[in-house]
């Protein structure tokens, strides 16, 4: 049985002992007398912990032991792909020749870095069927924002100022409508049909001369391939809109199908999902954006180009209609190094194998779990990289919700699926095993979900009070929102007033 480390580890502030130090610093070059103007000099106390290096090391080591990562076990978060990250990526990404590079170095001294970016772009172009990429966006949502700003710039450039609406299916990731709204678009939601795909009639009715574009992921968040994609593309293009590909689900078609061939004009990729970059508890990621030729003049600056004649890579700021910058400098470079390393090892056949096995694993799990009491499989059976089950029957019969199922899975040493998403499935459990789960892990996952179903119908309390084997028991998020304590500073004040007992 799984048991997670429970260290009751204090906050680093609570480990403080005056006088302890964990650092050494070089002396100044010369003891020049330089005074900070009185009105700027720090007068307020610096309430930082005073701890020695071994204390720091033990503290964060213990915290890490109370954390679950891809290396700890199965992590099948749907739409938030977490796959195994080969360690060679890490070794190269933290290489001194990466770490100690200043972004403003003369181009002659960073030819290796520029070559890495250029080579990565060539891979991404072929994988997506796009013509030019920016590697600047720091994450998927940053890429989406880049993409919709490009769409905006394109329409404005053509004088079509009336194109103020962005279409987004109701099954889309929350970042899609949020990114469109940030770019100043009005978001129009397109309903899904009974197959779980875009309702063509609703789409026909929604498009107009106000349509700037449609943001779509294919396969979609239900794990279903939008088989009418050519028709969708036709409707959007005919109305004068552009088709945007959210690459969060590219894992399912990697090395087999290209968004560019399906009619998409613009694509963002999540290197931290598809190209095996660890996600660090929430980032850094990277969200490169690729476009078809007619949009390349709108990309953020600079682009990385290659001068064949002189065999030199260079940063190209000559992008005539560029939207500007969406992030400082050139993006999350060390993440780019990981992605290229991964691609070179996998190669053409490896990438194809990734999507095929990911799809096999998802369907294997679907078929094995299907028919289990309490879980329902809405929409079509054939899935791509992920599957969404509904725990609605279980909730109705026993009061055990998707959230409880998720929490109980943690007791088995397995990460929960994504829950309550997409919004169109009640009590959604969205499972994406990826290509890295073993057959035994898949079987064990199905067994655990079956066991939980059994428990729900015989002893629902054990599920509702889960988890039992983790570092802490079920966390009170209502209290956290009701009485926000975001920092030690806030905590101390409330503690002094006697308003918290934890």
């Amino acid at each position: 049985m799984f048991r997670q480390a429970k260290w009751d580890e204090p906050l680093i502030f609570e480990l403080s002992h005056p006088g302890r130090v964990g650092y050494t610093l070089p002396k100044p070059i010369e003891d020049v007398d330089v005074k900070i103007p009185e009105k700027l000099r720090r007068k307020s106390p610096l309430n930082l912990p005073e701890v020695s290096e071994p204390e720091v090391v033990k503290h964060y080591t213990r915290l890490s032991e109370m954390n679950y990562g891809v290396d700890s076990g199965i992590y099948p978060l749907g739409s938030c792909t977490m796959k195994y990250n080969p360690k060679i990526n890490e070794e190269l990404a933290t290489h001194p020749k990466v770490a100690f590079l200043h972004p403003y170095q003369d181009e002659r001294t960073v030819q290796g870095a520029l070559k890495i970016m250029w080579e990565l772009e060539q891979w991404l172009k072929e994988i997506t069927g796009m013509d030019r990429f920016t590697l600047q966006p720091a994450a998927g949502a940053n890429g989406e924002f880049t993409g919709v700003m490009i769409i905006k710039a394109y329409h404005l450039d053509k004088g079509e100022t009336q194109r103020t609406e962005m279409l987004v299916p109701d099954s889309a990731h929350g970042t899609n409508p949020a990114s469109a709204a940030m770019a100043g678009f009005k978001v129009i939601e397109i309903p899904s049909n009974e197959n779980g795909t875009v309702d063509l009639e609703a789409l026909e009715n929604a498009v107009s001369e106000r349509t700037a574009g449609l943001m779509l992921t294919n396969p979609n968040t239900l794990g279903i391939f939008e088989d009418e994609i050519l028709e969708i593309a036709k409707i959007v293009h005919k109305a004068g809109g552009l088709l945007y590909y959210d690459g969060a689900n590219l894992n399912a078609v990697l090395g087999k199908i290209r968004p560019g061939d399906m009619g998409f004009d613009i694509v963002h990729l999540n290197l931290h999902k598809t190209f095996s970059t660890p996600h660090g508890g929430g980032g850094p990621g990277a969200g490169p954006v690729g476009v078809k030729d007619f949009l390349k003049d709108y990309l953020p600056v600079p682009l990385v180009s290659y001068d064949e004649e002189n065999d030199r890579y260079y940063l190209d700021y000559n992008v005539p209609k560029s939207i500007g910058k969406v992030k400082e400098l050139f993006g999350n470079f060390s993440v780019l190094v990981r992605a290229l390393t991964y691609l070179k090892i996998m190669g053409r056949d490896g990438l194809k194998e990734v999507s095929e096995v990911a799809v096999l694993n998802a369907n294997y799990l679907t078929q094995k779990l299907k028919g289990t009491r309490g879980y329902e499989l809405p929409h079509k059976e054939l899935r791509k990289h992920e599957v969404v089950f509904s725990a609605e029957p279980m909730r109705r019969d026993t009061g055990v919700k998707a959230l409880d199922v998720a929490k109980r899975l943690l007791d088995f040493g397995m990460h929960a699926p994504t829950i309550y998403f997409p919004l169109i499935v009640h009590e959604a459990l969205m499972i994406e095993p990826t290509e890295t789960a073993t057959k035994e892990e898949l079987d064990a996952y199905v067994e655990a979900l079956k066991k939980i179903s059994e428990e729900a119908y015989t002893n629902p309390e054990v599920v509702k009070s889960a988890p039992h084997n983790t570092a802490v028991r079920r966390v009170d998020d209502v209290l956290a929102a009701k009485k926000p304590i975001i920092t030690w500073k806030m905590y101390k004040e409330l503690k002094e007033k006697g308003e918290v007992d934890y």
């Binding site: 929350g174 470079f333 799809v359």
Partner: protein, 448 residues
């Protein structure tokens, strides 16, 4: 050949059979004909071959360890204590996702809560989010936030003309979405915000922004005054700060800032050719401000047994709940970069932070003194890290000559600010060595 890490390549037939499919192709039966094709990509290689190939490519880089560098301008060479890297590379941190399941992610949640707390102490504001992409994106989102706080009735965001160009460009892109108007204020003869010009431009502003230190590396002496002018005009006061200065300079929260942004990656993270970074985003403890802030917040709470626990909180502001009405689209952030920063800050403690600031201040002053022997310094004032130097010769020529002597000179400023002539920013940090400065001076004397 099956790729080495994919376990079920060995079980395809068996698994297909078990679920009633005869081939992998059957699993792609819903894909319209013609979509599936062979890609024009190289064959995969062994790990060793790629290791060699990548090393070969990387060898074409010349790092600051191999060549004394005086580059700064927003990216700085700081030394990172070795244990920081070892701790953040613990795979339970490194390979975890956003902590959606709090009970199994307490380590990352507590580490991020500590990051928020340490930054709060430095900047003097009690509410800090778990990171933005970088200083630029934090500043741009702060601008949008001040406009939202005015319910769109005020759309002007006032910034010094000498705001860092990278940040200015990010701000301008973000501003195009909701139609925020970016208004710039001149600098005065001291290279600091021209207060009179600010007073003229502040009317109807949603927010006023200033940087510590500014793009020229100078401390803006009238920070408090600028804050007062902003507040009197009904605008929010946003301060951008390099946090490595905060041991010696007053916390921006104490100087009147409503929102503080900045760059957390200066602690604990290498330069990495400019990324990843982590934007600081902090606000006053005011529900109105908290409701409008972007990004993920980690909060303290208790578990079912009354034990202290940590969780992502106030998510109703965020995109996965509020969708088009979210305060921001930011989802993936820079969590690991933030944790590295936290570990470094905790290691330094109050004395280390103060000492770090003092060493940088003195090294900058030394570099400035030496540079003044051979070139003009257009602005006088207190410099931290960057110093603006003006030459008579075209700077690119000087730069080339320095490179020939294995020295990487400063950052050429003219492309952004032609009115400053042949000037460049030269920077020092605690890593700058006397031998480097001596070599630079020898070279400059030869070249000029």
């Amino acid at each position: 050949m099956a790729k080495h890490y994919i376990p079920n390549s060995a079980h395809k037939e068996e698994m297909l059979k078990e679920i009633g499919f005869s081939s992998i192709e059957d699993l792609f039966a819903d894909v319209p004909k013609g979509f599936i094709k062979e890609f024009n990509l190289p064959e995969g290689k062994s790990e060793y071959e790629v290791f060699l190939e990548m090393n070969e490519i990387l060898s074409k880089n010349k790092t600051v360890l191999e060549m004394p560098s005086f580059l700064g301008a927003g990216t700085y060479f700081h030394y990172i204590p070795a244990h920081v890297k070892y701790l953040i590379e613990r795979s339970e941190f490194l390979t975890s996702y956003t902590p959606y399941q709090a009970e199994i992610s307490q380590g990352m949640l507590q580490a991020l809560f500590e990051y928020q707390s340490l930054i709060a102490e430095l900047v003097g504001l009690p509410v800090v989010n778990a990171s933005m992409y970088d200083w630029g994106s934090a500043m741009a989102e702060a601008a949008l936030m001040t406009v939202r706080l005015h319910r769109g009735k005020r759309k002007k965001f006032v910034v010094p003309k000498h705001t860092h160009p990278e940040r200015m460009q990010v701000l301008k892109t973000y501003a195009k979405g909701p139609g925020v108007e970016v208004i710039t204020v001149k600098w005065n003869e001291k290279g600091q915000v021209d207060i009179e010009d600010l007073k003229e431009k502040v009317k109807d502003a949603a927010g006023v922004y200033v940087e510590i230190p500014n793009f020229f590396g100078l401390l803006e002496e009238e920070i408090e005054e600028i804050g007062k002018i902003a507040h009197e005009a009904g605008a929010y006061f946003v301060v951008g700060v390099d946090p490595t200065i905060l041991g010696i300079v007053e916390a921006p929260g104490e100087l009147g800032a409503d929102i503080v942004v900045g760059e957390a990656s200066y602690f604990g993270n290498p330069m990495n050719f400019g990324g990843p970074r982590a934007g600081i985003f902090a606000v006053r403890n005011d529900p109105k401000l908290i409701r409008q802030m972007p990004g993920r917040l980690i909060g303290m709470t208790k578990d079912a047994e009354g034990k202290r626990a940590f969780v992502m909180t106030l998510q109703t502001r965020e995109q996965h709940i509020r969708r088009a009405k979210a305060t921001s689209n930011i989802c993936s952030n820079e969590a690991l970069v933030a944790v590295a920063a936290a570990i470094h800050i905790a290691t330094l403690g109050p004395r280390g932070i103060k000492e770090l600031g003092e060493v940088i201040l003195k090294n900058t002053a030394y570099l400035k003194k030496r540079l003044s022997e051979v070139a003009e310094l257009p602005f006088d004032g207190v410099n931290f890290k960057d110093v603006l130097v003006r030459f008579e010769k075209p700077y690119p020529e000087i730069h080339n000559e320095l490179l020939k002597r294995n020295i990487h000179g400063g950052y050429y400023v003219k492309p952004h600010f032609p009115e400053l002539g042949e000037s460049a920013l030269f920077a020092a940090t605690e890593t700058t060595r006397k031998e480097w400065v001596d070599a630079l001076m020898d070279a400059l004397r030869e070249v000029l």
